[in-house]
């Protein structure tokens, strides 16, 4: 590390690099500071009494929590399978799961509508059973799961790659069944990475806009999440939109801070033992 930092200070490009870096930091951080600065505590208090805001926040919290639980519970065994099973099938599945990262969310929303909409591929059959998904809170969750699962799978897979196959063989030789070896060895070793993956997925689900708009619509109190509420508040009441946005910045900040703190807190807990 120290040799690298001394190298970069010697670089003839250092001045250009520093200016460019500072410009980038400013571009990323300045709008957030301005946003937070343009709202007041009184505005926040007023928003807290606004039923539309409360509805949107409640819906966002409920749907994103449901999404994260679904993604984590279904995605953890899947990530383990992707990492521990060599072969063409797992490589193809792993690549397919990365696809939603590369595709615009609006496209995903349209694809979901084509599939689960009332006339859709699966939706037409479901509607004969009296099940309607599109434009319901379930659609909000489905859209969030689709866009956020790839982030979880990637982080969890990277974490599971830290578990060497030999470690698991040793656990088996010590009398653990393969599921015990997974639960007591592989999962605890990978847990910090799995938590990071869940947090990334949650952040992505919280910010979900395009897919939700197309697939779940914008029904206040029903499918209108925080990002959608911001967009529509902007048309009527800019101050309201700014307050909502500030709330999301705060949530994101808390999430990031706890992500950064989790590894050091875990390390401190280990040292105490």
């Amino acid at each position: 590390m120290s040799s690298l930092s001394s190298l970069s200070s010697l670089s003839p490009l250092s001045l250009v690099g520093r200016l460019g870096g500072a410009a980038l930091v400013l571009t990323v951080v300045l709008p957030l500071i301005v946003l937070i600065g343009s709202t007041s505590v009184a505005d926040l208090r007023e928003a807290a009494r606004n039923p539309r805001f409360v509805e949107a926040l409640g819906l966002s919290v409920r749907t994103t929590l449901a999404s994260v639980v679904l993604v984590t519970v279904l995605g953890t065994p899947l990530a383990w399978w992707l990492v521990s099973t060599p072969g063409r099938l797992s490589r193809v599945v792993s690549m397919l799961l990365e696809l939603p990262i590369m595709i615009p969310p609006a496209v995903i929303g349209l694809a979901l509508l084509q599939t689960f909409g009332r006339m859709g591929f699966v939706g037409a059959w479901l509607s004969t059973k009296g099940i309607f998904i599109a434009f319901t809170p379930a659609a909000v969750v489905l859209a969030q799961v689709t866009v956020s699962a790839p982030y979880f799978i990637q982080a969890a897979s990277n974490a599971f790659r830290e578990v060497t196959p030999d470690t698991l063989v040793v656990a088996r030789t010590l009398g653990a069944s393969s599921s015990t070896a997974f639960l007591r060895v592989a999962l605890p070793i990978a847990l910090p990475g799995v938590v990071v993956g869940a947090s990334l997925a949650w952040a992505r689900a919280l910010g979900e806009f395009g897919a939700t708009l197309l697939f779940a619509g914008n029904l206040p109190g029903h499918t209108q999440t925080m990002p959608l509420a911001i967009f529509y508040a902007l048309e009527s009441d800019v101050r309201m939109a700014v307050v909502l946005a500030t709330m999301l910045v705060g949530l994101g900040g808390v999430l990031l801070l706890s992500l950064r703190l989790i590894p050091s807190l875990a390390a401190a807990a280990r040292r105490r033992r």
């Binding site: 063989v169 088996r172 009398g175």
Partner: protein, 266 residues
């Protein structure tokens, strides 16, 4: 054929493996009742793969011909479709680079096998099934006992990451021996150590393998290990056994240039 050392039974084990694994063709037939067999051979000759086959950690295809017998237990016989699972084989394993669980302390590593295998019949004499907490305490007590027996009790509360290379190998051995395996496989246990800790771990292995009377198979590139353990030698090249015998046999008449180089006396 069999002998008793202290209270324990040092038996014959034998393995016959005919398998095609990727580009590696294994055709190995070995048996040993001397208590310690050293496997030597160039890198990529199939030594580690052979150990994993003994453990049942390599998926066995239908066309393979595998027969593994330890003492009077048939662990694998492809002709009759017999296959004992890895966790029921009672074969201990020290993989290359210790394989300790990094999220557990030293004593938690050692008690892992006691907790996981506490309901196995062979352990029931020592650790009685009972209330969960009681069993847990019995496992902890037994783990501490093993660590004390190996002179490692002061490491008990340590995290794996703070141990030296030599200490890691000692703890890995303690963990493997704690469940009283019927055969112990060591894959180059000293390869990552400096000269000083190598000497210390070697003496440690000799002392405690003898005390536990646990038959072992050790993969090594070091003649000093073979000498210290008084091991019989089996040489594998390109997936085949090319020579077996005592150290003297290998010194007098090595059958390949690799073996001549390995066993040459200055």
């Amino acid at each position: 054929m069999h002998r008793w050392v202290g209270e324990r039974f040092m038996g014959l084990w034998q393995a016959k493996v005919r398998a095609q694994l990727g580009t590696l063709r294994l055709d190995i037939s070995v048996s040993d009742d001397s208590g310690c067999l050293a496997i030597v051979g160039p890198n990529g000759s199939g030594k580690s793969t052979f150990l994993r086959m003994l453990l049942g950690a390599v998926p066995v295809a239908r066309k393979f011909d595998v027969e593994i017998v330890v003492g009077d237990r048939i662990l694998e016989r492809t002709t009759t479709g017999t296959e004992v699972s890895t966790e029921a084989r009672r074969i201990g394993y020290l993989p290359q680079g210790h394989g300790l669980f990094p999220h557990l302390t030293v004593v938690e590593n050692v008690e892992f096998g006691l907790i996981a295998g506490a309901l196995r019949p062979a352990s029931q004499g020592r650790i009685r099934p009972g209330s969960c907490g009681g069993r847990r305490r019995a496992c902890r007590a037994r783990a501490m006992e093993v660590l004390e027996g190996l002179g490692c009790q002061e490491l008990a509360g340590h995290r794996i990451s703070v141990l030296s290379g030599g200490q890691k190998q000692k703890v890995a051995l303690a963990r493997a021996l704690a469940v009283e395996p019927e055969l112990l496989l060591l894959d180059e246990p000293m390869s990552a150590l400096d000269v000083v800790s190598r000497r210390s771990v070697r003496a440690f292995l000799v002392e405690h393998l003898r005390a536990f009377a646990c038959p072992c198979v050790i993969v090594t590139h070091d003649v000093e290990d073979i000498e210290a353990l008084g091991a019989r030698v089996c040489a594998i090249e390109a997936g085949r056994v090319i020579q077996t015998g005592t150290l003297e046999v290998f010194r007098d008449a090595p059958r390949s240039t690799f073996l001549a180089e390995l066993f040459q006396t200055p």
